[in-house]
Subunit: 464 residues, 2 copies
Amino acid sequence: MKTRLVIIGGSDAGISAALRAREIDREAKVTVVVADAFPNYSVCGLPFFLSGEVGDWHNLAHRTAEEITREGIELLLNHTARSIDPDSRTVLVIDKSGDSRQIAYDRLIIGTGAMPLQPAIAGLELPGVYPLRTMGDSFAVHRHLQEPSACSVVIIGGGYIGLEMADALTLRKLDVTLIEHSPTVLKTVDPILGRLAAAELEKHRVRIINSVGVEAIERTGERLTVHGLGGFYAEADLVLVSVGVTPQVALAQTAGVRLGVRDAIQVNRRMETSVPGIYAAGDCTVTWHRLLERDLYLPLGTTAHKQGRVAGENAVGGNCEFAGSLGTQVVKLFELAVARTGLRDDEACQAGFDPLTVEFESWDHKAYYPGAHRLHFLITGDKQSGRLLGAQLAGHRHAEVSKRIDIFATALFHSMTVEGMSDLDLSYTPPFSSPWDPVQMAAQAWSKARNTSAVSSSSFQSVS
Amino acid sequence: MKTRLVIIGGSDAGISAALRAREIDREAKVTVVVADAFPNYSVCGLPFFLSGEVGDWHNLAHRTAEEITREGIELLLNHTARSIDPDSRTVLVIDKSGDSRQIAYDRLIIGTGAMPLQPAIAGLELPGVYPLRTMGDSFAVHRHLQEPSACSVVIIGGGYIGLEMADALTLRKLDVTLIEHSPTVLKTVDPILGRLAAAELEKHRVRIINSVGVEAIERTGERLTVHGLGGFYAEADLVLVSVGVTPQVALAQTAGVRLGVRDAIQVNRRMETSVPGIYAAGDCTVTWHRLLERDLYLPLGTTAHKQGRVAGENAVGGNCEFAGSLGTQVVKLFELAVARTGLRDDEACQAGFDPLTVEFESWDHKAYYPGAHRLHFLITGDKQSGRLLGAQLAGHRHAEVSKRIDIFATALFHSMTVEGMSDLDLSYTPPFSSPWDPVQMAAQAWSKARNTSAVSSSSFQSVS
């Protein structure tokens, strides 16, 4: 009998699951319930639509609805799943007109994603104040930006999306003020690299306000005023709020699935929930961390694709496991790329390692060849075992920062030592690298520092 | 007692060995015998000096003589080692004025490098005909290029150096003709990518002649004529000959060391020769291939650095092994980067694997973001075991080709399967990649082709 696979959610995890299921089992009947009309959209691309770099928002789709249905996948667009009955194995869905119906499943995959965190700020409901998560949010911001009066913006939150929006709206000629309650922006990396990110933004006239908690937003005529602690205030025509996300699990809870860390859906590495026949994947679930060997809440598009693929394969009879995340990430801010993989020093400490983190700088390629850029590394390894624990890297967007962090990510995947990095046979020509690639020079600097750090109590070292 | 370490050769392997020895043993007395006045020069940088991109040749040094001596390393510049007496553990060296002396060693490292192959072509000794290996060769070409009459060049040999010189001398406004006796240039990669390299050169008006063997060079007045089989001829003001290199082992033979493949010095993975107390490293030695698990002659700057480091460490009492080469290489030709790692299909066949090679194309990053470039992959894996055997990649020089091939190199280092590539947690943001990096999409295309290739007898497949 054909497996009836129902997938709730048409973003990265859901579509990845659907495609993999159909690839493995050409007989499977796969239905994807999509809450809006935009399946498989690249949420990570929204800043580039709002910057004007992507002219037509339709291009943000990883695949069109036609490409998906051509794979034999049924799409129920503009349908919202309301509840799951695991006993009868049915999902209650409701369409735009309010009509509801029951859909039967043999296997169900929940990929309901995440929603923006609502910070404790008064005035979030005012016109001109926007979260940024869905296509709908983007359209609303896009419309507002087309008004001639839209000249300035305050962005609340200095994470990936906040910083990308600061870049995007500067390109769009707005005056941008970014408020981050911590002392540095981009807290996913250490402050040394966070300051490089801030410097790049400030070079392009973004005004960055650190260490200020926002309390309220008020409207005065056409303008909004953002009030913070200590009497801080800033005026703008728009306010964007991006302070993180939280898993969307209300539907899953109707099925009685167990929740885990940060109230995300608990899954095992086969992406099975606690309820038989029900899988989950993507931003609504916990994520197995390969190095920490435990679950975190770490929502990333790359992870959603991988988890979706595993869930899709297993739902039609496969037997595979999610290999785990290393938290590998990269962001582009104007001309700068900032990337990380594995653990920072403080994360490694908390996890019970004995870390040493070494700062290292080099050129991305032989300095005699034109166009060389500086690379700023932070290498974290375990002092006792010598094991590589993590790497952070910032440099020009043409300095292959993204794929250099991926060399570390691939090394971490295989539990390499820092010392072992020198054994890797990496490519070299003077326009692209050095005979020892900078990733190897950084690893060698770590080894030297480790050999001389027996007397030092600090786990953080700078190497010139 | 202090170890007296003598190193013969001041290029990549020799200096790498000296630095590592001093790093491991601060008491070691390290002497490097350098035949010319240019220790630690980047031979790979010579094309960029001749192109004019590097204004001052002094910048080609990885390190200055002062930087080397500051590490406590003695440099004997303009000294040539004439013979080795392993019984008395002495080396006979001769300086520029012809004075000779014996230097005693406890450990000796031979890093005499390679020299250009002399093809069977009449007229190689004519003025205006140049090999390209040493700093001296480059200075001679550089002087000739400054004559106003130097307007055209014939390059014999379509390998890395020949192609880089075609790029370099085109930048320098010369008319360039490149002659390669095989049907395609850049034979280190498959013809599909070789043709892309040729197209890039032709786009910049390099004239490429394939399948012509050169027989003779003749001088008529100020001009040179290159004659090939079948009546081919081409005229030029200069002729550059670059048809490969051969290990320089005459000195090593005075010590009675055993030679191996292609008459390179036989070493084990500790970089020991057959003679006690004598190590060798770099372009004069054989190279252990990590995947083939046997010795090849595969001279590369990256390998010379690694082998030198191992030899230097072991020579002062260390105990490490060369991890092996994967033949990872990259070349930049105008705007194109072409890279490879591991085995091509034919090499895998010869080694007894049952290879499948799949061609795959994609964008380097999300196509909606400006500046996306096409990437051309060839993925080779073993049909039976699914093991990754090699990857080849061509694309724009800003498409992170070099470090993308390094992700494959790191995967090969750990004997990953092609399928396993999808488990890697690689970085993503729309300006740099896709949620599945192109290296993973290429791997997935290979897996699909493998699943459907049971009926196909060909080991080469194109996937759209």
